[in-house]
């Protein structure tokens, strides 16, 4: 006997049409503040979707609570705007029930790393094939301007009039520490880079975590301008790419070299070091991923942006399916009537 889901999957033919970004726009008015970085993330996501080759009806966007979590309403796919912090758990249940679906989690720094911190780390270690987009704006926007777990120490907000005394999480390091298999960082104001990263995240088998620096122009305007604006970006950001040396700077005249385990900035101009002395990124190297992610928040180092790690590890839902198939092979398809009558029974005449 087949289940209703099996029937559904077997009958469903993927539509032959070629999608455009417009096909992924829902009929709902987008209600973020004008100028919000979320608009760019929505646009890049809608642009990337047609390239994935996945029918729209097999995509699900799941979110928690916060500005970012309104995202699913604007995607013309299936969507679930759940409760604060719990999107990874809702998504896990859905993905386990339906490995055939493409499942995306959209979260923010408060939703994902404060109230939902527990779920995020467990999703990473389990490695379900789910894509997580973190909109990091280092502030609570929807509740109107309290500091978040990624806000810098000393930040003055409504709830920290004397400055925050919290030390911020670095989401990339945290996810690497939780044994994530794909960790990346991109910028709301760099559409091309974001599209490339989103594509890679979608293609990754296993949990992919993408931190997106996102400007909240109302409560934390300019938090990332040093990394996103033309004047400062090239000297403040190092784009890490697999197999390439870490070069940065307006004139491509600076690089990152490893001194022991410690990354340091070296000049390529003074003749002391050449490109050959620089650290070459290897996205399969877990140790290196920790070193690169740890450059974050270090004022003397450029901010690393790109894919920190992309490795293969068994995917949770496939392991679950494998165990079910193994049990069916070994014991035969479960028979409820047989089970009820199994073990020690006796007949009363």
């Amino acid at each position: 006997m087949t289940t209703q889901v099996e029937d559904l999957i077997s009958k469903t033919q993927p539509p032959q049409q070629k999608y455009t970004a417009k096909d992924f726009q829902s009929d709902q008015d987008v209600r973020w503040c004008p100028g919000c970085g979320d608009y760019s993330i929505l646009a890049q996501t809608q642009r990337v979707m047609p390239d994935l080759g996945i029918p729209r009806h097999q995509m699900v966007f799941i979110s928690g609570i916060g500005c970012s979590s309104r995202f699913p309403y604007y995607m013309n796919t299936y969507g679930f705007h759940s409760i604060h912090g719990r999107a990874p758990a809702v998504a896990s249940g859905l993905k386990l029930a339906r490995p055939d679906l493409s499942v995306w989690v959209v979260t923010g720094d408060g939703d994902g790393f404060s109230i939902g911190g527990n779920h995020i780390i467990h999703l990473m270690r389990r490695n379900l094939d789910i894509n997580v987009l973190l909109f990091n704006n280092q502030i609570y926007g929807l509740t109107k301007g309290q500091y978040s777990p990624t806000s810098e120490t000393g930040k003055v907000t409504k709830s920290t009039p004397y400055g925050s005394i919290d030390y911020p999480f670095n989401p990339a390091s945290l996810c690497l520490g939780a044994s994530a298999t794909f960790v990346a960082r991109t910028l709301d104001r760099d559409p091309k880079h974001m599209q490339a990263i989103l594509k890679r995240a979608a293609d990754h088998k296993g949990t992919s975590f993408v931190e997106i620096y996102q400007n909240c122009n109302v409560f934390n305007d300019g938090a990332f301008f040093q990394f996103t604006e033309k004047e400062t970006k090239e000297d403040s950001v190092v784009f890490i790419e697999h197999g390439k040396p870490l070069v940065f700077g307006k004139e491509k005249d600076k690089g990152i070299r490893l001194n022991g385990f410690t990354p340091e900035v070296v000049s390529l101009k003074d003749g002391k070091f050449s490109v050959n002395d620089l650290l070459v990124h290897d996205e399969k190297d877990t140790t290196l991923s920790f070193i690169l992610a740890d450059m974050t928040y270090k004022p003397h180092l450029p901010r690393p942006v790109g894919i920190f790690l992309a490795i293969d590890r068994p995917v949770y839902e496939e392991e679950m399916v494998r165990q079910i198939q193994f049990a069916k092979q070994k014991r035969g398809e479960g028979d409820m009537s047989k089970l009820l009558n199994s073990g020690e029974t006796w007949v009363v005449q």
Binding site: M1, T2, T3, Q4, V5, L8, I9, T12, S26, Q28, P55, R56, H57, Q58, M59, V60, I62, P72, Y73, M75, T77, Y78, G79, F80, H81, I83, R86, A89, V90, A91, S92, G93, L94, K95, L96, A97, R98, L101, N118, H119, H122, M320, Q323, I324, F326, A327, K328, R331, G334, M336, S337, L339, L340, G343, E344, T345, W346, V347, V348, Q349
Partner: protein
């Protein structure tokens, strides 16, 4: 058997008690299975400490297992025990209070050395003074006899000591005239690949039996004839096992995969363990990182077209509150099993209580009605969790299934249901795109369509924000909010058309109606039966549907002069009945972490009878 008298008993209650490492639960379970196969009606109650391995010999490390069996109808594990098997001094001290005057005590004398006596806070050895004179005490050095039986096997003293429970079991089999076959078979299955342990336990079991047979100590053996049970095929089942199987049956009958999201918690974990074994049925079990992930993963699975289930106890339900509200709002099927324990807070994890009824009814923010069903006996868990699933699927709603530690761990013989004649409860997925709106309701049930991801043309978004009627779009309009609140309430209220009427056991009108719910069934039934035998006008109504309540309940209550509501809480159902039906119902309450004794309810009814 020369010289031994065989005496027939109608019913008997035995309590096995020892250190938590002494294997008393196993001994009790084996005795239970053998007794069930003999055709006795029975009821059991395990009673174990919260600590896994409490320090040996201490009072708080005592583990007990009580079985009440007979040739008549047995509804409770017994108010008090007739026989106490005590493996050490602490076990005697903790359990002596539940032994009837003149009862039998079988002690392992080795468990009464100075150290044991000190740990049990005995000034004098109770076996040596006259403090046990009102009981029949049989002193057996079980440890020594076990060691003797195994002396040529060269086993470690630890292994030898661990076998001694089988001596006690063998002796009790002999005393109550039960065959050893079923336990011998079980040993073979369990220890087939550990021949030493198999040999040791087999020998010790037989040594216990032979000891009874040959020693002069026991002049009388007892026999308990089979009970007159409804003809058919039976098995023994605990409440938690019945719950797991009921869920599996429901998923199959609904043509859905069963998904369990659960976080381990006493006394519900056995359902997670049980369901984890049945992967060949397509059951997906997910041990989540916490209670909240347990329920939210189940909601995610339901969104995807599985029968989503979460199992927990009271503290877990407290954590799941917000997600329950979400399930109400998004109107997805979900079964929430609360195996209640003593509260509040961490409370009494291994003890039983019924104090989460109001939590199930009201424990959420906003107006968030959730249907509630409750099992009356261990085997009834199968039927009622199946019902919970049926209601969840048909009405697209979370449903509470209430059980408790007493039902979950307790067991009883179960007339195995005919699976093939159980109803089809499938809720059909919406597949037609034409005219689809996420909150367009079924006219009869008011349930919304179940449109699962993967269905072309039905792409839609759901969430915890208030929905616009019919379209399901986010909507903050005052009138729409009130309409939606009322629609969700009305949907749950309409379930009254789909559940059985309240049916009284006994006369349909009279002086006293005892109204119960959940695990108090056996004690109430026993107490009411005794009163009816005395000619008193007392009837029993046991509610298995607690929200909504059966639609004839008011009429039923009004036909009695007095309504008595015994509950293992400070009066929760009684509040609901008084508020809803304006009847002067009175509560009878006990919150000791223990079930009611039938005698307690019998006495309370006495008070009312006497005015």
């Amino acid at each position: 058997m020369a010289g031994k008298t065989l005496k027939t008993l109608e019913e008997v209650t035995i309590r096995f008690a020892g250190d938590s490492g002494d294997g008393m639960q196993l001994t009790g379970t084996q005795f239970t299975n053998t007794t069930a196969i003999l055709g006795n009606d029975l009821s059991t109650l395990p009673d174990f400490p919260a600590e896994i391995r409490a320090p040996q010999g201490t009072l708080f490390g005592v583990s007990g297992f009580q079985i009440h069996f007979g040739s008549t109808e047995i509804n409770t594990p017994g108010d008090s025990c007739d026989v106490l098997v005590a493996m050490n001094a602490a076990a005697l001290k903790v359990n002596l209070g539940s032994l009837v005057d003149g009862g039998v005590i079988i002690v392992n004398t080795d468990g009464f050395n100075d150290k044991n006596l000190k740990l049990a806070s005995y000034q004098n050895n109770p076996l040596k003074d006259s403090s046990l004179s009102k009981y029949q005490v049989f002193e057996v050095d079980i440890s020594k006899l076990t060691a003797l039986a195994l002396q040529d096997l060269g086993l470690s003293s630890k292994l030898v000591d661990r076998s001694k429970n089988f001596f006690a079991l063998g002796l009790m089999y002999w005393l109550y005239n039960r065959p050893m076959d079923s336990t011998l078979d079980w040993l073979k299955k369990k220890f087939g690949n550990k021949p030493e342990i198999l040999e040791a336990n087999t020998r010790v079991l037989k040594a216990g039996w032979n000891y009874g047979e040959t020693t002069e100590m026991f002049a009388v053996r007892y026999e308990v004839s089979p009970a007159k049970l409804t003809p058919g095929k039976y098995r023994n089942i605990t409440g938690n096992q019945a719950t797991a199987w009921g869920l599996m049956a429901a998923a199959k009958k609904a043509k859905l995969d069963l998904f369990l999201g659960s976080y381990p918690i006493t006394p519900a974990s056995d359902i997670l363990h049980e369901l984890s074994m049945y992967k060949q049925f397509g059951v997906k079990t997910f041990q989540a990182e916490d209670e909240i992930a347990g329920i939210t993963s189940a909601i995610g699975a339901s969104f995807g077209g599985a029968l989503g289930v979460t199992t927990t106890s009271g503290p877990g339900v407290a954590l799941k509150g917000e997600a329950l509200g979400l399930a109400v709002m998004v109107e997805l099927p979900l079964v929430v099993c609360n195996i209640q324990r003593g509260g509040p807070s961490t409370g009494l994890p291994t003890k039983t209580e019924q104090a989460d009824l109001l939590q199930a009814l009201y424990g959420r923010n906003g107006e968030a009605p959730i249907p509630i069903v409750a099992a009356a006996t261990p085997a009834d868990c199968f039927q009622m969790v199946f019902e919970a699933s049926r209601i969840a699927l048909k009405y697209m709603t979370p449903v509470f299934f209430l059980s408790d530690g007493y039902l979950g761990n307790g067991s009883e013989p179960w007339l195995i249901p005919d699976y093939n004649s159980m109803p089809d409860i499938s809720a059909k997925f919406r597949t037609e795109a034409e005219g689809f709106l996420p909150y367009l309701r079924d006219e009869a049930t008011l349930s919304r369509p179940w449109a699962v991801p993967g269905t072309p043309g039905l792409e839609h978004r759901i969430g915890g924000l208030e929905k616009q009627n019919i379209t399901g779009n986010v909507n903050y309009e005052p009138a729409n909010h009130e309409l939606m609140i009322k629609l969700r309430a009305e949907k749950i209220e309409r379930i009254t058309n789909d559940i059985p009427l309240a049916e009284v056991e006994g006369d349909k009108e009279g002086d006293i109606l005892v109204v119960g719910w959940g695990s108090t069934y056996g004690a109430i039934r026993t107490a009411v039966t005794r009163h009816r035998e005395k000619g008193n006008s007392v009837s029993h109504l046991h509610l298995r549907y607690l929200n909504p309540l059966p639609k004839n309940l008011g009429e039923v209550l009004y036909k009695f002069k007095h309504v008595l509501v015994p509950e293992l809480n400070l009066g929760q159902l009684v509040k609901v009945l008084r508020a809803k039906y304006l009847v002067p119902a009175i509560g009878f309450n006990k919150v000791q972490g223990l079930p009611f004794k039938a005698i307690e309810i019998e006495k309370k009814i006495d008070e009312i009878v006497k005015g």
